[in-house]
Symmetry: C2
Subunit: 114 residues, 2 copies
DNA sequence: TTTGAATACCTTGTATCGCAAGGTACTGAA
DNA sequence: TTCAGTACCTTGCGATACAAGGTATTCAAA
């Protein structure tokens, strides 16, 4: 790996850490299908591709955190709209806490409360 | 994977994302050897074990972001004190920016600036 | 009616990386 | 000289994001 690959790599790892969290946050607001989720994440510079998202959605669905319904589209094949379940919301609240804690932790290191 | 393994798993992934960043932050303040780094991270609830840290320090050293010197200990074998390099500091500044951006991104999703 | 472009969903193979577990080596005290 | 404590390092495994490629549906244009 060459030089500034390090930064890109590190950035990628940071993004990975919040992927599941981000998706649950988005679906907590509205039901969405894959392309919209990808676009919304991209809008805030969290780049995700299909090959990452589909297996992840399926995993979350199998864990009972998400569900989906098929919905017709005016142009193109039907879409799989994912929605968050009650169980998903419960987990989301825990992830909220975990994220806040992590932000605090980093802040502690930065300000030398060690 | 069973039920609340999800949260623990997600927490772990979040931590992973900031590991390199955390280590550079710590070494930006003082030179440290492995055990101290592990303790400082643990103090802010970022759990890391030896098997994770050693390869990581070696990788950062090979990339020229860190250096080390041997230093005697009053009890036990000599210690490998790691210190950050100029190059390391430069990359750290970029990670600072990347981290701030990510915190902003999550905040955007949470507050619906989508 | 058939072809092709656009859209959507999914799978496979690969590389990375953290972690559990286990190994080596140095030190000082019993 | 043996043992406990400390420190450094490696190996094998599992999880997972991503690149690349595949299938299916729709609609419009030829």
């Amino acid at each position: 790996m060459e030089d500034s690959g390090f930064i890109e790599n590190s950035r990628t790892q940071m993004r990975r850490g919040v992927l599941e969290y981000s998706i649950l946050l988005i679906l907590d607001r509205d039901d969405e299908y894959a392309s919209t989720i990808i676009r919304k994440l991209k809008d805030v510079d969290i780049i995700v591709v299909e090959g990452t998202l589909y297996p992840l959605l399926i995993r979350l669905k199998n864990m009972g955190l998400l569900n989906y319904r098929w919905q017709e589209s005016t142009q193109g094949p039907p879409r799989k709209y994912y929605m968050i379940t009650e169980k998903g919301r419960a987990q989301l609240r825990e992830l909220d806490a975990a994220w806040s804690k992590l932000v605090q932790s980093i802040e502690s290191i930065r300000t030398e409360k060690l």
